[in-house]
């Protein structure tokens, strides 16, 4: 299940945010603290997660302290489904 979530997130992030569909993202790779996902795209990511996984992420949680990797994000989503 977590694998599926991670794969869906990778597809979304690489095609919609990075516009680099061939890009791979490792589950433990830093997303926010590395600047891979810029602040303007964080709202998009939260809306995508809500629409596709039914998990709400509050705007005050959109920072590297709450999640910085796909693994952490997938765990957060699973915990809220």
């Amino acid at each position: 299940m977590q694998q599926e979530i991670i794969q869906t997130l990778i597809t979304y992030i690489t095609t919609q945010i990075l516009k680099q569909p061939g890009r791979q993202i490792a589950p433990a790779e830093a997303l926010i603290s590395s600047g891979l996902i810029d602040s303007f795209s964080l709202v998009d990511l939260a809306l995508f997660i809500e629409d596709n996984f039914g998990a709400h992420i509050d705007d005050t949680e959109l920072n590297a302290d709450t999640f910085d990797t796909l693994e952490q994000l997938a765990a957060l989503i699973q915990g809220r489904q």
Partner: protein, 574 residues
Amino acid sequence: MQVSAPNSPPAFSPQETVSRVLLRDYQQTPDTVSVYLLDSRQHDSPITYRNLFERSLAFALRLEQAGIQPGAVVILILPHSADLICAFFGAILAGAIPSIMPFLTEKLSPDQYRSSLSALFEITRPAVTITYPEFLEEVLRARGEQRLPKEIIVAENIPTPLDNDFQRLPGLLADPDHIVLLQHSSGTTGLQKGVALSHRSVFNQLNSYSRAIRITSEDVIVSWLPLYHDMGLIAGFLMPILMRIPLVLMSPFDWVRAPARLLRAISDHRGTLCWLPNFAYNFCAQKIRDRDLEGVDLSSWRAVINCSEPMHWSSHQMFLERFSPYGLRPQALATSYAMAENVFAVTQGGITSPVVVENIHQRALFDNQRAELSNDADLSIEMVSAGQPIANTSLRVIDSNGKLLPDRQIGEIAIRSDCLLTGYYNRPDLTEKAFIDGWYQTGDLGYLANGELFVTGRKKDLIIVGGKNIYPQDLERLASDVEGVHPGRVVAFGVFNEAAGTEEVVIVAEVDDLQPGIRQLTADKLRQHITRNSDIALRYAHIVEHGWLLKTSSGKIARAANRDKFIAEIKPTA
């Protein structure tokens, strides 16, 4: 063509200074709330004029203790907070010159931030930096061998003075022609060009601009804009505080994560005025859910003013369509052309009549540099007017020889006013270059028609992303740090993204090793390096083979030509 507006009776006297206005507000309206500072949970902390003056006084006395001399520069590196506001005014009360620097965000590499700070310190030679405890280490490292700034003040445990012996403060004795603040734009290039403004220029701007937007005591200004940028610093900070207009202020960091907060704040505080860069119209229209707008009432909003990057009518329409069900009125849509060198506004559109929008013949625009009206929607582009000059400001459009151009002919915009910069701080060379016969040469291109200004582009290769000015040479220099990327074989430029309503940054680099794996790796490294070391997120990192980039006859990379080639070959999808 040259246009001027009639002079206006001043609201502030020509002898006014910021310190004296603050003192008067403190004495006359101590219990009036000046700023409602919103936190990330939408709770607000009201700051009265008494709080503002007393806390600023505390900073002023602390600066005196540190041996600050009148006219010395104080760099402020603080998050959006009451401390930032009061440290700013405290420096002015102490007779010093404050300059606000962006705060280090989590994505920025500390190394790069430190070298930006060093570049800033070298030119401005600040006496003091005020910062937060967690940031002390960075500032200490950035000051390097010159040990400038000499003094670093940590903005905590600053005691509130017991005896308010403020009458002798140097700031209260300041001359209106003294420099009151410095404003920088971003990047290594921008940090070396601090715009120095006098009290007189600031108050002349406030007099003219408040009149242009018909400010009254009924107004409430709402802003999420950063204070290190002219739009946020003047329209969203100094103007309301000094004119006793309530200000509802939130952090850009909070807004970008929850754009609905801006609309909620307007609704809760019956906000009337707000300034936004063009991309924010798209951002708000696209990223706010209906549930976040429940109960929001925007009927109090009398002007939302588009400013600081190229304006697009489609962005206005998108915004209006999204928010008119919540009470936003079409006549609230307004525009402005502004720059730090004129304190803030040069022109104002809307407010008393709808913003002028023209359909311009596209071919004539590109081929003849003429803006001819067209009836054919397919062959034309919509141009949004930035309005007419504010009082005591003249503008003209000139050709490369400085000759006045007729109406509708595109040329460089030059301005003359009573609120221009004193100079680029410690850079007389740059100041001299910027003026011809008393006219400030903006570097922006545009045309005049019936007294209205239309801005069409830029003379210099400047990229404007979300209202932030980015110098491509800074990005190209950074790109050359990446393994496999070489100086002179890399180019940076902006490409307009219709959906986002702003430019997105593209970097094209020639590399020798074109194996797919290496290519991908270089693109990744490039993206990461630029994103972590600049104020922008790199959208397109494009790796090409040797010989792809177009050069001028003198062997320099031609940015505009390469931009056209990129769009033609690799048209980016929105």
